[in-house]
Amino acid sequence: MAKKDDFFKMGSQETVIGHTVKLKGNLKSQHDIVIDGELTGDIDSESTVTIGHGAIVSAGIKAKNVVISGNLEGDIDAEISVEITQTGKVLGNIKSASLSIDAGAFFEGQSSMKGTKEPPLKTAAEVQNKDNDIKPFFE
C-alpha cells in the first residue's frame, strides 16, 4: 500500500522555517508562511505570515494577515490584520486595516490604518459652487 509520505499526497503547500534553520533571501508564496527560525530578507504571501515565538526575522512583510509572536525588524504591509501577541516584538512601521497588540508585546514604529480614511472636508467655496449648480425645480 502507499506510504504516508507518497508524493501524490502533498500537504497544504505551507512554507515552514523550523527552529534550526537560518535563511537569507526573499520568500514568496500564495500560501501561509510560518517562521520559527531565522530569516533575513523579504516575505510576500497572499495568505497569512506567522512569526513564531523565538523566531528572529529581519524582513519587510507583505501579506493578508500577519501574526507576530517572535522578533521582527522590518515594515509590515497587511491587507487585513496584524496581531502582535504577548511575546511578540516589532521594530518597524505597520500598515493594516486592523491592528491588535497584546499586553506585554513590544512595538516601536508608526502605524497607519488601511481603508479607514475619512473623505476630506469641503471648503465653503466648494459648498457654495455646488449649491449654485442646483436649479430650482419650478422655474
Binding site: 500500500m1 501524490f8 500537504g11 503547500q13 505551507e14 512554507t15 515552514v16 522555517i17 537560518k22 500564495q30
Partner: protein, 282 residues
C-alpha cells in the same frame, strides 16, 4: 508491444517462483511480449537500450526499486512508456505510483493509464541520476546504504527494524548549507532532508524541500511496529523551489530509496519527461 526486463535475483528470486503464472496472466490480458533476463551488473541498461532500439512501445521492469530505477535511468524520452511489476525486496517506487503488488500490476499494465511526468535529476560526485519521487539526504539515505533490503520473516523484520533504530540513534545531526533557486541561502542542522518531486501537482514549484531536526519517541515506536521509514521523518521545515544545491560535504544521498552517493548534490528537473504507467489511484 511490451518488452519485459526481468531481474532474476530480485526479491530473493521470487520471480522464478511466479514466472509461469505471471506470463499466463499477461498472455490472458493480451499484453504478452518479449521477456529478457539480466545476468549481472550492467545488463539492465543494455537490455533497456535494446528494447528501445527494437521499437517496443512499453518497457516494463520486473523487480524491485533498484531494477525499476536502473530501467528508468535509461529511458530516453516520453515516446516509450515505462511500467513496473514489483517483485523486489523493496517496492516503494511502484507503491508510490499506485501499483500495490505484481498481480495488480498486470491489470494496471493492461489498462495502460499513462502519465507524462517531469522527473528530477540529481548530480553528485558519483554522477547523475534521475528520480521520480524523492531524494533523501542524511539519516534515511544512511539507512538505505546500510540496510538495502527488508527481510520477509516477522522475527528478522523486527531485528532489522531495531538495527535501523540503533543506526538512527548513533547518527549525528549534520549541518547543511543550501541554496534554493540561487536566491535563497540557508543553513540547517538536523538529521534528514527530503526533496520531493511535486512538479506534476498544482504547484508553481517543482520540489518540496522538507527538513527534519529529530525523531520524536512516539514516531520511533510506530516505526518498530510497521517498519515504515516515513515514521522516522517528522518534518519541521518545508520550503519550495526549482533548483536546490546542497553544499556541505559527505552526507549520504538516496534517490527513490536507493543509496547513490554523498553530498554536495545539485537537484533540478531533468530536461526529459517520462511516460509512466500508473495505478488508478494516481
Amino acid at each position: 508491444m511490451y518488452y519485459y526486463i526481468i531481474n532474476p535475483s530480485a526479491g530473493n528470486g521470487k520471480i522464478n517462483k511466479i514466472q509461469e503464472k505471471l506470463k499466463g496472466i499477461l498472455s490472458n490480458l493480451g499484453i504478452a511480449g518479449e521477456f529478457v533476463k539480466s545476468t549481472g551488473p550492467g545488463d539492465i541498461p543494455k537490455l533497456t537500450e535494446i528494447g528501445i532500439k527494437k521499437g517496443y512501445s512499453t518497457i516494463v521492469a520486473i523487480g524491485g526499486d533498484s531494477t525499476a530505477n536502473e530501467v528508468l535511468n535509461y529511458m530516453p524520452n516520453d515516446k516509450t512508456a515505462f511500467g513496473i511489476i514489483p517483485v523486489g525486496k523493496t517496492n516503494t517506487l511502484a507503491s508510490s505510483l499506485g501499483i500495490p503488488d505484481w498481480m495488480e500490476a498486470c491489470q494496471i499494465l493492461a489498462a495502460r493509464k499513462t502519465r507524462r511526468l517531469n522527473i528530477g535529476e540529481v548530480v553528485t560526485a558519483s554522477g547523475n541520476r534521475y528520480f521520480i519521487n524523492k531524494i533523501a539526504i542524511g539519516l534515511e539515505a544512511d539507512i538505505r546504504k546500510n540496510f538495502p533490503s527488508t527481510p520477509k520473516q516477522i522475527v528478522s523484520k523486527v531485528k532489522h527494524n531495531l538495527g535501523i533504530l540503533k543506526n538512527s540513534k548513533s547518527f549525528n545531526p549534520f549541518t547543511m548549507r543550501f541554496e534554493i533557486d540561487k536566491s535563497i541561502k540557508g543553513d540547517f542542522k538536523g538529521i534528514n532532508i527530503h526533496i520531493t518531486n511535486v512538479s506534476f501537482q498544482k504547484s508553481d514549484k517543482a520540489f518540496m524541500i522538507s527538513l527534519q531536526e529529530n525523531v520524536p519517541k512516539t514516531e520511533k515506536i510506530k516505526f518498530i511496529k510497521t517498519g515504515d521509514l516515513s515514521y522516522l521523518a517528522n518534518h519541521n521545515s518545508t520550503l519550495y523551489g526549482n533548483h536546490i544545491y546542497l553544499k556541505s560535504n559527505n552526507i549520504s544521498v538516496a534517490a527513490d530509496d536507493q543509496y547513490i552517493g554523498a553530498t554536495p548534490a545539485e537537484i533540478s528537473i531533468a530536461n526529459k519527461k517520462i511516460r509512466i504507467i500508473v495505478g488508478s489511484i494516481f
